[in-house]
Protein backbone atom coordinates (compact mmCIF):
# COMPACT_ATOMS: atom_id res chain seq x y z
CA UNK A 1 0.00 0.00 0.00
CA UNK A 2 1.81 3.10 -1.17
CA UNK A 3 0.52 6.37 0.14
CA UNK A 4 1.20 9.22 -2.25
CA UNK A 5 3.24 12.12 -0.87
CA UNK A 6 3.50 10.50 2.54
CA UNK A 7 6.77 8.93 3.58
CA UNK A 8 6.84 5.36 4.84
CA UNK A 9 5.85 5.13 8.48
CA UNK A 10 7.25 3.39 11.54
CA UNK A 11 9.85 4.31 14.13
CA UNK A 12 13.38 4.75 12.77
CA UNK A 13 16.46 2.87 13.99
CA UNK A 14 18.59 5.85 14.99
CA UNK A 15 20.42 5.94 18.32
CA UNK A 16 20.18 8.86 20.68
CA UNK A 17 23.41 9.93 22.34
CA UNK A 18 23.29 13.34 24.04
CA UNK A 19 26.43 15.54 23.98
CA UNK A 20 28.37 12.59 22.63
CA UNK A 21 28.35 10.84 25.99
CA UNK A 22 24.91 10.08 27.40
CA UNK A 23 23.34 6.98 25.83
CA UNK A 24 19.56 7.24 25.94
CA UNK A 25 17.10 4.37 26.11
CA UNK A 26 14.55 5.37 23.46
CA UNK A 27 12.98 1.91 23.00
CA UNK A 28 12.15 -0.42 25.85
CA UNK A 29 10.04 -3.45 26.65
CA UNK A 30 6.57 -2.32 27.69
CA UNK A 31 5.67 -2.38 31.37
CA UNK A 32 3.52 -5.29 32.58
CA UNK A 33 0.44 -3.06 32.84
CA UNK A 34 0.58 -2.54 29.06
CA UNK A 35 0.11 -6.23 28.38
CA UNK A 36 -2.14 -6.62 25.36
CA UNK A 37 -1.76 -2.96 24.41
CA UNK A 38 1.91 -2.51 23.47
CA UNK A 39 4.97 -4.79 23.37
CA UNK A 40 7.52 -2.05 23.04
CA UNK A 41 7.49 1.57 24.13
CA UNK A 42 9.18 4.09 21.84
CA UNK A 43 10.22 7.68 22.34
CA UNK A 44 8.50 10.31 20.20
CA UNK A 45 12.00 11.26 19.00
CA UNK A 46 12.02 8.26 16.64
CA UNK A 47 9.09 9.66 14.69
CA UNK A 48 10.55 13.08 13.98
CA UNK A 49 12.59 14.14 10.95
CA UNK A 50 16.39 13.81 11.02
CA UNK A 51 16.77 17.58 11.23
CA UNK A 52 14.51 17.86 14.26
CA UNK A 53 16.13 14.83 15.91
CA UNK A 54 19.58 16.35 15.45
CA UNK A 55 18.67 19.45 17.46
CA UNK A 56 18.15 17.34 20.57
CA UNK A 57 21.54 15.64 20.46
CA UNK A 58 23.69 18.52 21.67
CA UNK A 59 22.86 21.02 24.37
CA UNK A 60 24.37 23.83 22.28
CA UNK A 61 21.89 23.07 19.50
CA UNK A 62 18.89 22.36 21.74
CA UNK A 63 16.90 25.63 21.90
CA UNK A 64 15.18 24.34 25.05
CA UNK A 65 18.40 24.68 27.04
CA UNK A 66 18.12 28.48 27.06
CA UNK A 67 15.03 28.10 29.21
CA UNK A 68 16.82 25.66 31.47
CA UNK A 69 19.48 28.32 32.09
CA UNK A 70 16.75 30.84 32.87
CA UNK A 71 15.21 28.45 35.38
CA UNK A 72 18.63 28.06 37.05
CA UNK A 73 18.55 31.79 37.80
CA UNK A 74 15.05 31.41 39.24
CA UNK A 75 16.28 28.49 41.36
CA UNK A 76 18.82 30.79 43.04
CA UNK A 77 16.54 33.81 43.47
CA UNK A 78 14.89 34.42 46.85
CA UNK A 79 11.16 35.09 46.66
CA UNK A 80 8.13 35.31 48.91
CA UNK A 81 7.58 36.27 52.52
CA UNK A 82 10.17 33.79 53.81
CA UNK A 83 12.91 35.33 51.67
CA UNK A 84 14.04 31.93 50.50
CA UNK A 85 15.19 30.49 47.18
CA UNK A 86 14.84 26.90 45.98
CA UNK A 87 18.62 26.68 46.44
CA UNK A 88 18.35 27.47 50.16
CA UNK A 89 16.63 24.16 50.81
CA UNK A 90 17.70 22.04 47.85
CA UNK A 91 21.30 23.29 47.21
CA UNK A 92 22.66 22.06 43.91
CA UNK A 93 19.86 20.59 41.78
CA UNK A 94 22.40 18.22 40.18
CA UNK A 95 22.38 16.40 43.52
CA UNK A 96 19.01 17.14 45.09
CA UNK A 97 16.91 16.75 41.94
CA UNK A 98 18.68 13.78 40.31
CA UNK A 99 16.10 11.07 39.64
CA UNK A 100 13.12 13.20 40.70
CA UNK A 101 11.56 13.77 37.25
CA UNK A 102 11.58 10.02 36.51
CA UNK A 103 9.10 9.33 39.33
CA UNK A 104 6.50 12.05 38.64
CA UNK A 105 3.53 12.28 38.80
CA UNK A 106 3.78 10.79 42.28
CA UNK A 107 1.51 10.02 45.22
CA UNK A 108 2.09 12.33 48.19
CA UNK A 109 1.01 10.52 51.33
CA UNK A 110 0.83 13.57 53.60
CA UNK A 111 -1.28 15.55 51.15
CA UNK A 112 -3.33 12.53 50.10
CA UNK A 113 -3.04 13.41 46.42
CA UNK A 114 -1.15 12.60 43.25
CA UNK A 115 1.17 15.48 42.45
CA UNK A 116 2.70 16.45 39.16
CA UNK A 117 6.14 18.03 39.31
CA UNK A 118 4.59 21.46 38.79
CA UNK A 119 2.18 20.90 41.68
CA UNK A 120 5.07 19.92 43.96
CA UNK A 121 7.07 23.00 43.00
CA UNK A 122 4.04 25.18 43.66
CA UNK A 123 3.59 23.50 47.03
CA UNK A 124 7.14 24.56 47.89
CA UNK A 125 6.49 28.06 46.65
CA UNK A 126 3.31 28.52 48.64
CA UNK A 127 4.06 26.58 51.81
CA UNK A 128 7.86 26.88 52.09
CA UNK A 129 8.57 30.25 50.52
CA UNK A 130 5.37 32.20 51.04
CA UNK A 131 5.37 32.99 47.34
CA UNK A 132 2.58 32.83 44.79
CA UNK A 133 1.94 29.63 42.87
CA UNK A 134 2.98 29.74 39.26
CA UNK A 135 0.23 29.45 36.68
CA UNK A 136 0.00 25.88 35.39
CA UNK A 137 2.10 25.25 32.26
CA UNK A 138 3.03 28.94 32.05
CA UNK A 139 6.60 29.77 31.02
CA UNK A 140 8.25 29.97 34.45
CA UNK A 141 6.67 26.75 35.68
CA UNK A 142 7.53 24.78 32.54
CA UNK A 143 11.08 26.18 32.45
CA UNK A 144 11.63 25.03 36.05
CA UNK A 145 10.19 21.62 35.20
CA UNK A 146 12.70 21.37 32.32
CA UNK A 147 15.60 22.33 34.57
CA UNK A 148 14.57 19.65 37.06
CA UNK A 149 14.13 17.14 34.20
CA UNK A 150 17.67 17.71 32.95
CA UNK A 151 18.97 16.43 36.30
CA UNK A 152 17.38 13.03 35.49
CA UNK A 153 18.28 12.93 31.82
CA UNK A 154 19.00 9.37 30.71
CA UNK A 155 17.40 7.78 33.77
CA UNK A 156 14.48 5.43 33.05
CA UNK A 157 10.96 6.68 33.71
CA UNK A 158 9.76 4.85 36.79
CA UNK A 159 6.33 6.08 37.79
CA UNK A 160 4.50 4.14 40.50
CA UNK A 161 0.92 3.18 39.77
CA UNK A 162 0.03 1.26 42.93
CA UNK A 163 -0.82 2.26 46.49
CA UNK A 164 -2.34 5.72 46.79
CA UNK A 165 -1.82 6.35 43.08
CA UNK A 166 -3.98 3.43 41.95
CA UNK A 167 -7.34 5.24 41.80
CA UNK A 168 -5.96 8.24 39.93
CA UNK A 169 -4.15 5.92 37.54
CA UNK A 170 -7.38 4.03 36.79
CA UNK A 171 -9.14 7.31 36.11
CA UNK A 172 -6.33 8.34 33.76
CA UNK A 173 -6.57 5.04 31.95
CA UNK A 174 -10.28 5.49 31.42
CA UNK A 175 -9.70 8.95 29.97
CA UNK A 176 -7.02 7.53 27.66
CA UNK A 177 -9.46 5.11 26.08
CA UNK A 178 -12.51 7.42 25.93
CA UNK A 179 -13.45 8.56 22.46
CA UNK A 180 -14.12 12.27 22.76
CA UNK A 181 -15.44 15.05 20.61
CA UNK A 182 -17.32 15.11 17.36
CA UNK A 183 -14.56 13.05 15.74
CA UNK A 184 -14.91 10.43 18.48
CA UNK A 185 -11.22 9.68 18.80
CA UNK A 186 -9.40 8.51 21.91
CA UNK A 187 -5.72 8.92 22.73
CA UNK A 188 -5.39 5.20 21.99
CA UNK A 189 -6.95 5.53 18.51
CA UNK A 190 -4.06 7.73 17.43
CA UNK A 191 -1.17 6.77 19.71
CA UNK A 192 -1.74 3.06 20.29
CA UNK A 193 -3.61 1.85 17.17
CA UNK A 194 -1.85 4.10 14.69
CA UNK A 195 1.60 5.11 15.88
CA UNK A 196 4.00 4.98 12.95
CA UNK A 197 1.24 5.97 10.53
CA UNK A 198 0.83 9.39 9.03
CA UNK A 199 -2.33 11.34 9.74
CA UNK A 200 -2.14 13.94 7.00
CA UNK A 201 1.37 15.45 7.42
CA UNK A 202 1.79 14.34 11.03
CA UNK A 203 3.79 11.23 11.81
CA UNK A 204 2.03 9.68 14.79
CA UNK A 205 4.18 8.65 17.77
CA UNK A 206 3.07 6.75 20.85
CA UNK A 207 2.36 10.08 22.56
CA UNK A 208 4.88 9.47 25.35
CA UNK A 209 5.68 12.12 27.93
CA UNK A 210 9.31 11.22 28.75
CA UNK A 211 10.50 14.07 26.49
CA UNK A 212 8.59 16.80 28.29
CA UNK A 213 8.80 19.70 28.61
CA UNK A 214 9.22 19.81 24.84
CA UNK A 215 10.66 22.69 22.86
CA UNK A 216 8.45 23.02 19.80
CA UNK A 217 9.78 24.66 16.65
CA UNK A 218 6.17 25.61 15.97
CA UNK A 219 5.90 28.03 18.92
CA UNK A 220 9.58 28.46 19.90
CA UNK A 221 9.14 27.77 23.61
CA UNK A 222 8.94 24.93 26.07
CA UNK A 223 5.55 23.22 26.20
CA UNK A 224 4.08 21.36 29.13
CA UNK A 225 2.46 17.94 29.04
CA UNK A 226 -1.01 19.28 29.83
CA UNK A 227 -0.84 21.84 27.03
CA UNK A 228 0.02 19.04 24.61
CA UNK A 229 -2.92 16.99 25.92
CA UNK A 230 -5.16 20.01 25.48
CA UNK A 231 -4.13 20.38 21.84
CA UNK A 232 -4.74 16.71 21.15
CA UNK A 233 -8.19 16.73 22.77
CA UNK A 234 -9.11 19.91 20.89
CA UNK A 235 -8.17 18.16 17.66
CA UNK A 236 -10.92 15.62 18.26
CA UNK A 237 -13.37 18.54 18.11
CA UNK A 238 -13.98 18.15 21.83
CA UNK A 239 -14.37 20.51 24.75
CA UNK A 240 -10.94 20.22 26.37
CA UNK A 241 -9.90 20.01 30.00
CA UNK A 242 -7.64 22.72 31.44
CA UNK A 243 -3.95 22.40 32.28
CA UNK A 244 -3.73 21.55 35.98
CA UNK A 245 -7.22 19.97 36.06
CA UNK A 246 -7.87 16.74 37.96
CA UNK A 247 -8.48 15.01 34.62
CA UNK A 248 -5.14 16.01 33.12
CA UNK A 249 -3.29 15.14 36.35
CA UNK A 250 -4.78 11.63 36.17
CA UNK A 251 -4.08 11.39 32.45
CA UNK A 252 -0.48 12.52 32.96
CA UNK A 253 0.06 9.83 35.58
CA UNK A 254 -1.35 7.18 33.29
CA UNK A 255 0.50 8.30 30.15
CA UNK A 256 3.77 8.72 32.08
CA UNK A 257 3.41 5.15 33.34
CA UNK A 258 3.07 3.95 29.75
CA UNK A 259 6.57 5.33 29.24
CA UNK A 260 8.15 3.49 32.15
CA UNK A 261 11.55 2.27 31.00
CA UNK A 262 12.16 5.11 28.51
CA UNK A 263 14.91 7.59 29.35
CA UNK A 264 13.93 11.01 30.66
CA UNK A 265 14.68 13.34 27.73
CA UNK A 266 13.38 16.74 28.76
CA UNK A 267 13.74 19.17 27.22
CA UNK A 268 13.13 17.37 23.94
CA UNK A 269 12.83 19.09 20.57
CA UNK A 270 9.72 18.56 18.48
CA UNK A 271 8.15 20.17 15.43
Amino acid sequence: LSAPLAMAGGADDDNMVINGDTDMTTKAAAAAHLDGALDEVISGWHFRSDETQQLQLDDFDNPGMIFVDKAMDTWNAAEGTEGKACADCHDDPADSMAGVRATYPKWNEAAGEVRTLQMQVNDCRVNQMGAEAWKYDAGTAVDMEAMISVQSRGMPMNVAIDGGAADTWAKGKELYYTRTGQLELSCANCHEDNYGNYIRADHLSQGQTNGFPAYRLKNAKLNGVHSRFKGCVRDTRAETYSPGSAEFIALELYVASRGNGLAVEGPSVRN
Binding site: N189, A201, A238
Partner: protein, 158 residues
Amino acid sequence: MRLTIITAALVLAAGMSAAETVLPADVAYGEDGAVEMSLTGKAGDAAEGAIIMSSKGRGNCISCHAVTALNDAPFHGEVGPMLDGIGDVRSEAEIRGIVADAKMTFEESLMPSFYKTTGYIRPGNAYTGKAPTEELAPLLSAQDIEDVVAFLLTLKDS
Protein backbone atom coordinates in the same frame (compact mmCIF):
# COMPACT_ATOMS: atom_id res chain seq x y z
CA MET B 1 -50.30 33.27 -4.74
CA ARG B 2 -48.57 30.88 -7.15
CA LEU B 3 -45.54 33.13 -7.15
CA THR B 4 -45.26 32.98 -3.37
CA ILE B 5 -45.24 29.20 -3.45
CA ILE B 6 -42.45 29.09 -6.02
CA THR B 7 -40.38 31.61 -4.08
CA ALA B 8 -40.84 29.64 -0.89
CA ALA B 9 -39.70 26.47 -2.62
CA LEU B 10 -36.58 28.21 -3.93
CA VAL B 11 -35.71 29.57 -0.49
CA LEU B 12 -36.06 26.09 0.96
CA ALA B 13 -33.78 24.54 -1.63
CA ALA B 14 -31.13 27.20 -1.14
CA GLY B 15 -31.26 26.76 2.63
CA MET B 16 -30.49 23.06 2.25
CA SER B 17 -33.53 22.13 4.27
CA ALA B 18 -35.70 21.18 1.33
CA ALA B 19 -38.46 18.76 2.20
CA GLU B 20 -36.58 15.79 0.63
CA THR B 21 -33.43 16.18 2.76
CA VAL B 22 -33.13 13.28 5.17
CA LEU B 23 -32.10 14.53 8.61
CA PRO B 24 -29.21 12.78 10.42
CA ALA B 25 -31.57 11.10 12.88
CA ASP B 26 -33.78 9.78 10.08
CA VAL B 27 -31.22 8.04 7.87
CA ALA B 28 -32.32 4.45 7.19
CA TYR B 29 -29.30 2.20 7.58
CA GLY B 30 -29.66 -1.37 6.38
CA GLU B 31 -28.44 -4.27 8.47
CA ASP B 32 -24.97 -4.07 6.90
CA GLY B 33 -24.87 -0.27 7.31
CA ALA B 34 -25.74 0.59 3.71
CA VAL B 35 -28.10 3.48 2.85
CA GLU B 36 -30.13 2.92 -0.30
CA MET B 37 -31.88 6.27 -0.61
CA SER B 38 -30.15 9.50 -1.57
CA LEU B 39 -30.06 11.92 1.37
CA THR B 40 -31.21 14.80 -0.81
CA GLY B 41 -32.86 13.33 -3.89
CA LYS B 42 -30.43 15.45 -5.89
CA ALA B 43 -27.58 13.88 -7.89
CA GLY B 44 -24.13 14.24 -6.31
CA ASP B 45 -21.48 16.44 -7.92
CA ALA B 46 -18.28 14.37 -8.18
CA ALA B 47 -16.02 17.39 -8.76
CA GLU B 48 -17.35 19.04 -5.62
CA GLY B 49 -16.92 15.72 -3.78
CA ALA B 50 -13.21 15.72 -4.67
CA ILE B 51 -12.84 19.20 -3.17
CA ILE B 52 -14.69 18.19 0.01
CA MET B 53 -12.44 15.16 0.45
CA SER B 54 -9.23 17.19 0.22
CA SER B 55 -10.29 20.28 2.19
CA LYS B 56 -9.02 20.49 5.75
CA GLY B 57 -12.08 22.43 6.88
CA ARG B 58 -14.56 19.99 5.30
CA GLY B 59 -14.22 16.20 4.89
CA ASN B 60 -10.44 16.14 5.28
CA CYS B 61 -10.73 12.49 4.23
CA ILE B 62 -7.19 12.42 2.87
CA SER B 63 -5.86 13.00 6.39
CA CYS B 64 -6.56 9.28 6.82
CA HIS B 65 -6.92 7.91 3.26
CA ALA B 66 -4.67 7.92 0.23
CA VAL B 67 -6.44 8.58 -3.08
CA THR B 68 -4.33 8.75 -6.24
CA ALA B 69 -6.90 10.93 -8.02
CA LEU B 70 -6.45 13.57 -5.31
CA ASN B 71 -2.65 13.71 -5.50
CA ASP B 72 -2.74 17.44 -6.20
CA ALA B 73 -3.59 17.95 -2.55
CA PRO B 74 -0.52 17.35 -0.33
CA PHE B 75 -0.11 14.78 2.44
CA HIS B 76 -2.38 11.77 2.37
CA GLY B 77 -2.63 9.75 5.57
CA GLU B 78 -2.28 6.04 6.29
CA VAL B 79 -4.84 5.55 9.05
CA GLY B 80 -7.56 4.23 6.72
CA PRO B 81 -7.31 2.04 3.61
CA MET B 82 -6.31 3.48 0.23
CA LEU B 83 -9.53 4.26 -1.67
CA ASP B 84 -8.40 3.71 -5.27
CA GLY B 85 -10.85 1.38 -7.02
CA ILE B 86 -13.49 1.68 -4.26
CA GLY B 87 -16.14 2.29 -6.93
CA ASP B 88 -15.59 -1.25 -8.21
CA VAL B 89 -15.62 -2.88 -4.81
CA ARG B 90 -18.54 -1.19 -3.13
CA SER B 91 -22.04 -0.25 -4.20
CA GLU B 92 -23.41 3.28 -4.04
CA ALA B 93 -25.58 2.35 -1.05
CA GLU B 94 -22.63 0.86 0.83
CA ILE B 95 -20.45 3.89 0.19
CA ARG B 96 -23.25 6.27 1.24
CA GLY B 97 -23.65 4.32 4.48
CA ILE B 98 -19.91 4.39 5.21
CA VAL B 99 -19.53 8.10 4.52
CA ALA B 100 -22.67 9.02 6.50
CA ASP B 101 -21.76 6.88 9.52
CA ALA B 102 -18.95 4.35 9.10
CA LYS B 103 -19.72 2.87 12.53
CA MET B 104 -22.88 1.32 11.08
CA THR B 105 -20.73 -0.72 8.66
CA PHE B 106 -17.55 -1.19 10.69
CA GLU B 107 -18.22 -1.62 14.37
CA GLU B 108 -16.19 0.77 16.54
CA SER B 109 -14.62 2.24 13.41
CA LEU B 110 -11.95 4.87 13.81
CA MET B 111 -13.55 6.75 10.98
CA PRO B 112 -15.59 9.74 12.19
CA SER B 113 -19.36 9.69 11.65
CA PHE B 114 -19.91 12.50 9.20
CA TYR B 115 -23.71 12.65 9.24
CA LYS B 116 -24.59 12.49 12.91
CA THR B 117 -25.28 15.13 15.55
CA THR B 118 -25.76 13.30 18.83
CA GLY B 119 -24.19 10.67 21.07
CA TYR B 120 -20.83 12.43 21.55
CA ILE B 121 -18.73 12.63 24.70
CA ARG B 122 -17.66 16.21 25.43
CA PRO B 123 -18.32 17.56 21.95
CA GLY B 124 -16.72 20.94 21.30
CA ASN B 125 -17.41 23.95 19.17
CA ALA B 126 -15.42 22.80 16.09
CA TYR B 127 -11.67 23.08 16.86
CA THR B 128 -11.89 25.79 19.52
CA GLY B 129 -11.64 23.41 22.47
CA LYS B 130 -14.67 25.17 23.96
CA ALA B 131 -18.14 23.86 24.65
CA PRO B 132 -20.58 24.32 21.77
CA THR B 133 -22.83 27.36 21.99
CA GLU B 134 -25.49 26.00 19.68
CA GLU B 135 -26.81 22.69 18.45
CA LEU B 136 -24.19 20.65 16.63
CA ALA B 137 -24.31 20.47 12.87
CA PRO B 138 -23.19 17.24 11.21
CA LEU B 139 -19.55 17.29 10.00
CA LEU B 140 -20.83 17.24 6.42
CA SER B 141 -24.19 18.31 5.00
CA ALA B 142 -26.50 15.86 3.23
CA GLN B 143 -25.49 17.24 -0.17
CA ASP B 144 -21.78 17.08 0.79
CA ILE B 145 -22.27 13.37 1.48
CA GLU B 146 -23.96 12.86 -1.90
CA ASP B 147 -21.13 14.75 -3.63
CA VAL B 148 -18.48 12.62 -1.92
CA VAL B 149 -20.37 9.42 -2.80
CA ALA B 150 -20.53 10.55 -6.44
CA PHE B 151 -16.78 11.15 -6.45
CA LEU B 152 -15.95 7.80 -4.82
CA LEU B 153 -18.07 6.01 -7.43
CA THR B 154 -15.75 7.43 -10.12
CA LEU B 155 -12.77 5.64 -8.52
CA LYS B 156 -12.67 2.53 -10.71
CA ASP B 157 -9.66 0.46 -11.66
CA SER B 158 -11.28 -0.99 -14.76
